[in-house]
Symmetry: D4
Subunit: 250 residues, 8 copies
C-alpha cells in the first residue's frame, strides 16, 4: 500500500536510518499513486460494486466465454450484452449459472453479497420493445450497483396514454433513465412530467434517416425539457452507471 | 387559348383553307401546352386561389416592396414572411393596406373575394413561440387558400398538459400541421392522439446540435407515429399548401 | 370500460353511497384512460383495418414465421417485407396461405372481410424496378387498408416519355405516392403534373454519394413542386398509411 | 383552481343540484389540468427557484431589455447571457441594478430571498478562458437555484498540472459541471479523478474541424470515463439546471 | 407510328370523314409520344451501341447469370462488374464465352460487329491498383461503345514521375477519364497537364476518413484544374458513357 | 525561350566551347520548363481565350475594381460575378465600359477580337430565376471562350411543359450545361431527352435541408441519366470552361 | 520552490521538529507541482521562444490592440493574424512598431534577441495566393521560434511545372509545411518528392462542396504519400509550432 | 541509368557523332526520370528500409499469403495487420517463419540485416487495449525502419495516474505516437507533458456517436496542445513512417 510506503520512508528518516537526500529521492521515485493521492485511487475503490460489462458484438462465442469467465472470477457482478443466437447458446452451455434473458439478448451473474445502497428508486423507461436490450443493460447495471430499479417499458410517445398510465411511478423516481430510438422524443415528454434528474439514452433502433441512432441522439441533445442529460447511442451501461452515482447518498 | 388554337387549325383544314401537311406541321410546332393537355396546365388553374409568398431574408426593403406590389397587382393574396425590423417598417409605410403581425414577423394581403372552400378545419399546432413565424406562414397560406384554420400554439411536449388541454381541438381537425424546432417531438405526440393526416414542419429554432433544424427534421422523419409526413425545415408555406390540397373535396 | 367506471363512482355519490371526498379521490386515481378520453383511445379503434407489417431484415426465418403467425392470428391483414431468399423459402413452406411476390420480395395475407372504403384511387408511382419492394409495401398497405391502388411503375425521369404515357392515370388519382431512389427527382416532376396530395418516398437504392438514400431524401425535401410531403427512407408502410388517412372521407 | 372545480361538480351532484349525466359530461369537458393531476403541474411549482434565462444572440438591445424587465417583474432571478457590447451598454443603462460581468458577457439579477438549499457543492470546471461565458451561465444558474458553486477555471488538459493543483476541490464536489470546447477532453480526465455525477458541456469554441462544437460534443459522448452525461453545445443553463436537480436532497 | 396516327386523323378530317370536334378529341387522346416528338424517343435509338452493365454486389451468382444471359440475348455487349470469387466461378462455368479479368474482377462479352466510331482516343488513368475495377469498368464501357482506349494505370500522385513518364499519352487524348480513391488528387494534376475534357471518377478505395469515397469525391469537385467534371463514387460506367458521348463526332 | 536555352548549351558543347561535364550540369540545372516539355506549357497557351473570372463575394468594391482593372489590362475578357448592390454601383462608375446585368448580378468585358470557334451550340438551361447568376456565369464563360450559347431559362421540373416547349433547342445542342438548385432534378430530366454530353451545375439556392446546395449536388451525382457529369456547387465558370473544351474541334 | 518545500519538511522531520504523522500529512497536502515533477513544468520552460498568436476574427480592433499590447509586454514575439481592414488600420496606428503584411493580412513583432536555433530549413509551400495568410502564419511562427524558413508559394498542382521549378528547394528542406485549400492535393504531390517530415495544412479556401475546408482536410488525411501528418483547417500556427519541434536538435 | 543516357548523348554530340538537332531531339524524348532528376527518384531509394504492409481486412487467406510471400521475397521486412482468426491460422501454417502476435492481430517478418539508425527513442502510447492492433502497427513499422521503440500501453485519460506513472518515459522520447479511440483525448494530455513532436492516431474503436473514429479524429485535430499532428483513422503505419522520418538524423 502506498500510504504505507511513504510512512516507512518517513519513519526510517525520523529514526535516522535514511539520509535526508536519500529520503527525498526515494519519495520522488515512488510510483505516482504511492504518494498518498488516495483520492486519485478512490476510483478503483469505487469500482468495487460496479458490474463488469461485456459487449457481445464483434466477439466470437469463445472470446465471450473466456472474458465472462475471467470477469466472474474477479468476484464482481457480470453482464454480457447484445448476444446473438450462437453466442447465447454457447454461453448458456459453458456458464449455466448465468441468468439469461432471451428478449433482452443478455446474460448476467449477480454477486451473492449485493445489497441495495441507493437512496431512491431508479426508473428505467423505454419507448419500444426494440429498445429493450439497451434498457435492460441500464437497468441491470443499476441493480448490480445496489439500486432498486422500476422498469416502465413500451411507453412510446405515439401512444402517450400508455405513458400516462404510469405517471405515478415516474414522479416517484429518484433518478430516471429514458431509452428511445427512432425520433427519441420520450425523454422530452417524461422530462416535462418530473422534477428529477433524467438521463436520456438514444438507441440505434430505426432505419433510413435514423442514421444509426443519430436522429434520436440529436433530438435528446436538443430536448426542450430542462434537466435532461444524454449519453452515447446504445450506452445503457453508461446511463446505469451515472444514475447510480446520482442515487448514492452524499 | 390553346384548345382554341388547335380548333382553328383543324377548322381551317376541314374547310380546305389549309393543306394536310401544313396542318400537320402547324400542330407539331404549337407550343407544348397548346396541344390540348389541359391537365398539364391545370396546375396554373389550380394556382388560382394560391397565395403568393415572399421570403424576406436576403432581400432589401426595396426589393421586398417591389415584389409585393407586383404580386398584389396580380390579384392574388400575398404573404411576406420573416421580415426584419427595417423591412417591416419600410413595407408598412409603402403598403399600408397590408395586415402586419409583429410577433410572427410577417405581413399579408387577403384578396377580397376569398371564400372558405376546404372540407374541414386545418389545425396548426406549434411547440414554442419561436416557431410562430413558420406556423403563421402555414396558417395564413391555408387560410388564403380557402380553409378554416384553428391555431393551437405554445404546446411543446415538455409541458404536455398544455397540449392535452386542447385535445378536443386536435381530434376535430380534418388535417393537422404540427410545427416544432429543437427536438421536434411534437408531431409524434400529436400523431398518436389523432387519426387524421398530419404534416410535420421542422423549424430551424435551436442552437448547437440543432444544426439549423436538422435535429428536428430527422426526428420527424423517424416519427414512430404512423400517418406523419414531413416538409423541409421552416417550410410553412409548403405545409399550408399540402394541407389545403388534402382538405379539398374529391 | 372507463366511462362506466366514472359513471359508477358518480352514481354512488349521487345515491349517497360515497362521500364527496372519497369520490373526488377515486376519480383522481382512475387510470388516465378511464376518465372518458375516448379520443385518446380512438387510435386503437383506428388501428382496426390497419395491416400489420413485419420487416424482414435482421430477423431469422424462424423469427419471421413466429411473428407472422402471431399477427395473422390477430385477424388483421399481414405484410412481410424485404424477404431474403432463405426467409422467403421458409415462410412459403410454413405459411402456404400467404401470397408471395418474388420480385417485390414480400409476402402478405389479406383478411377475407376487407372492403374498399377509400374515397378515390391511390396511385403508387415508382422510378425504377429496384424501388419496387418499397413501392409494393406502400401499395399493399394502402390496399389492405381498404383503398383502390393504381400502380405506375418504372417511370424514372430519365425516360420521361414513359411517365407521360401514364399522364391520365396520374391526374385521376385522389392521392399519390411517388417512390424513387438515386437522385429522387420523380416526385418533383409528378408533383408538377397533378393537383393532389403527393407523398414522396425516398429509397436506399443507389451507391456511392447516394449515402443510403440521403441524396433522394434531401432532393424530395427540397422539391420545387408544392404539395409534396416526405416520409423516411424506404418507409413504404408509412406512405401507404398516410395516403390511406388522406383518402378516408371526412 | 382545478381541484375546486371538480369538487364543486361533485358537490352539486351529491346535493342533487346536478344530474348524473350532466355531472359526467361536465367532468369530461374540464380542461385536462382541472382533473386534479397536481403532479403534472408540479413542474410549475418546481420552477419556483429556477432563474429565467435570456439568450442575447439574435435579439436587439430593446428586445433584451423588454424581456429582462418582464422576467424580473415576475420575482424570479434573471440571467442575460452572451451579450454583445451594444446590448450590454444598453442593458446597463436601462437596468442599473443588474450585476454585469464583462468577461463572461452576461448580466444577472439575484432575487433577494434566495437561500442555499443544495446538498453539496457544485464544481464548475472550464478548460479555457473562451469557455467562460458558458461556464458562468452554468455556475450562475446553479447559484440562483440555491447551490454553492466552486469555480475551477482555465484548467485545460494541455497543462494538466493546473488541473491537478485543484484536485482536492474536484473530489469534494457533490456534482461537477465540466465545460470545454476544441477537443473536449477535460470531462474525460476529470471523470477519471472523481466518483460523482459529472455533466459535460461542449462549447462552440474552436475553428475549422471543430465544426461549431461538434468535435467537443462527440468527444464527450464517447468519453471513456463512466458517469459522464452530456448536454447540448453551449448549453450552460441546462447543465446548471440538471446539476441543481441532482444536488437536491431526496 | 405516331406521326402516321396524326396524319391519318387529319387526313380523315380533311376528307370530311371526321367531325371537327371528334378530330380535336382524337388528337387530345393520342398517347404523348404519338404526337410526333420523335426526338423524345431518340434516346432509345442512341442506346443502340451502349453496353449493358450488371453490378455484381448484392446479387447471387444465379441472379447474375440470369441477368447476363438475358442481356446478351439482346445482342448488345455486356459487362458484369465487381464480381466476388463465387460469382466469378459460377459465371465462368455458366457462360464460358465471356472474357474474364480476375484482377479487375469483371467479365464481359463484346458484340461481334462492334466498330470504332469515336473521334479520338479516350485515356483512362488510374491512381492505384485497387482502383482498377472501376477504371476497367470505364475503359470497357468506352471500348464497347466504339472507342479506342489507352490505359495509363498505377500513376498515383505520390510517385509523380510515373505519371510524367506517360506525359505524351495524356496530351494526345481526346477525352480523359481519371480514376482515384483516397485523396483523389490525380484529376487535378492531370487536369493541369492537358487541355481536353477530363472526367474524374472518385473510388471508394480508402479507409477511415475516406468515408467510403467521400474524401476523393469532395477533392475532385473542388479541383483547382479547370475543365474537370465529376461522376458518382465508383461510377466507372457513367464516366465511360459520358466520355463516349464527348468523343462522338458532331 | 527554353528550347533556345537547351540549343545554346548543345551548340556550345558541339563547338567545343563547353566541356561535357559542364554541359551535363547546365542541362540539369535548367528550370524545369526549359527542358522542352512544351506540352507542359501548352496550358498557358490554352489559357489564351479563357476569360478571367472575379468572384464578388467577400471582396470590397475597391478590391473588385482593382482586380477587374488589372485583368482587363491583360487583354483577356473579364467576368465579375455575384456582385452585391454596393459593388455593382462602384464598379459601374469606375469601369463604365463593362456590360452590366442587374438580374444576373454580374458585369463583363468582352475582348474585341473574339470570334466563334466552337463546333456547335452550347445550351445553358436553368431551373429557376434564382439560379440565373450561376447560369449566366456559365453562359458568359462559354461565349467569351468563343462559343454560341443558347439560354433556356426558367424550365424547372415542377412545370415540365415549359421545358418541353423548348425540346427542339435542347436536342440541337452540341453540349448542355444544366443549372439547378433545391432538389437538382433538372439534369436528370434533360439528360433523358438528349444524347449529348451534359454538365450539371448544382446551385446553393434553397434553404433548410438544401444545406447550401448539398441536396442538389448529391441528386446530380446520383442522376439516373447516363452521360451526366457534375461540377462544384455554384461553379458556373467551371461548367462553361469544361463545355468549351468539349465543344472544341479535335 | 517545490523541491525546497519537500526538503524542508523532511529536514524538520529528521531533526525531530515534526512528528511522523504531521510530516506525512504535510507532504500529502503539498500542491501537486511542489512534489518535484519539474518535468511537468518544463512545458512552461519550453514556451520561452514561442511567439504569441492573436487570431483576429471575432475580435474588435480595441480588443486586438489590448491583447497585442499585453502580449508584447511579455517580451515574447507576437503575431496578429487574419486582420480585417478596420483592425489593421487601428492596429497600425496604435502599435506602429509592428511589421505589417497587407497581403497576408497579418502583423507581427519580432523579439530583438531572437537567434536561429533550428537544425535545418523549414520549407513552407502554399498552393494558391488565397492560402497565403495561413502559410504566412506558419512561416512566421517557425521564424519567430528560431528557424530559417524558405517560402515556396503559388505552386498549386494544376500548374505542376511551377512546383517542379522549385524541386531543389523542396528536397533540401529539413521539414516541410504544405498549405492548400480547395482539393488539398499539394501535400500528396510534394510528399512523393521528398523524404522528410511533411505537415499538411488544409485551408478554408474554396466554396460549395469545400464545406469550409473539409474537402481539403479529408484529402490530406487520406494522402497516399507516406510521412504526411495533418493539422486543423487554417491552423498555420500549429503547423509552424510542430515543424519547429521537429527541427530542434535532439 | 539515366545520367548515363544523357552523358552518352552529349558525348556523341561533342565528338561530332550526333547532329545538334538530333541531340536536342534525343534529349527531349528521354523518359522523364532520365533527365537527371535523381532527387525525383530518391523516393525509391528511401523506400529501402521501409517495411511492406499488408492490410488484412477484405482479403481472403489465400490472397494474404500470396501477397506476403511476394513481399518477403523482395527482401524487405513485412507486416500483415488486422488478421482475422482464419487468416491468421492459414498464414501461420503457410509461412511459419513469420512472428505472430495474437493480441495485436498481426504477423511480421524482420529482415535479418536491420540495424537501429534512428536518433532517439520513439514512444508509442495507447489509450486502451482495443487500440493495440493500431499501436502495434505503428510500433512495428518504426522498429522495422530502424528505430528503438518504447511501448506505453493502456494509459487512457480516465485513469490518468496510470499515464503519470510513465511520465519519465514520455519526456525522454524523441518523437511520440499517441493512439486512442473513443473520445481521442490522450494526445492532448500527453502533448501537454512533453516538448517533442507528437503524432496522434485516432482509431475506430468505439460505437454509436464514435462514427467509426470520426469523434477521435476531430478531437485530435482540435487538440489544444501545440505540436500535435494527426494521421488518418487506424493509420498506424503512416504514424510509424512519419515518426521514423522525424527521428532520422539531418
Amino acid at each position: 500500500m502506498t500510504a504505507e510506503s511513504l510512512r516507512k520512508i518517513l519513519d526510517r528518516l525520523a529514526r535516522g536510518e535514511l539520509e535526508l537526500d536519500a529520503a527525498l529521492d526515494a519519495i520522488k521515485h515512488l510510483p505516482f499513486e504511492d504518494l498518498g493521492f488516495a483520492k486519485v485511487d478512490h476510483h478503483r475503490a469505487l469500482r468495487v460494486g460496479v458490474p463488469e460489462v461485456v459487449f457481445g458484438p464483434g466477439k466470437t462465442p469463445e472470446q465471450i466465454i473466456a472474458i465472462a469467465r475471467a470477469l466472474r472470477a474477479g468476484g464482481e457482478s457480470v453482464i454480457v450484452t447484445r448476444l446473438n443466437a450462437d453466442s447465447a447458446a454457447a454461453l448458456r452451455e459453458a456458464m449455466p449459472d448465468l441468468t439469461y434473458d432471451a428478449h433482452a439478448r443478455l446474460a448476467f451473474w449477480r454477486r451473492p453479497d449485493l445489497v441495495v445502497s441507493g437512496r431512491g428508486t431508479i426508473v428505467v423507461a423505454a419507448a419500444g420493445t426494440a429498445d429493450l436490450p439497451v434498457a435492460e443493460e441500464a437497468a441491470l447495471t443499476a441493480e448490480l450497483m445496489g439500486n432498486t430499479v422500476d422498469r416502465v417499458y413500451d411507453v412510446g410517445v405515439a401512444g402517450i396514454h400508455r405513458l400516462f398510465a404510469h405517471h405515478e411511478r415516474l414522479v416517484q423516481a429518484s433518478v430516471l433513465i429514458v431509452v428511445a430510438g427512432m425520433e427519441g422524443a420520450l425523454p422530452s415528454v417524461v422530462g416535462g412530467l418530473v422534477d428529477r434528474p433524467l438521463i436520456a439514452v438514444p438507441t440505434s433502433i430505426g432505419y433510413g434517416a435514423s442514421f444509426g441512432g443519430l436522429a434520436a441522439l440529436l433530438a435528446m441533445l436538443n430536448s426542450c425539457a430542462a434537466g435532461v442529460t444524454v449519453v452515447n447511442i446504445d450506452n445503457g451501461f453508461g446511463a446505469g452507471y451515472a444514475a447510480s452515482l446520482i442515487n448514492r447518498a452524499r
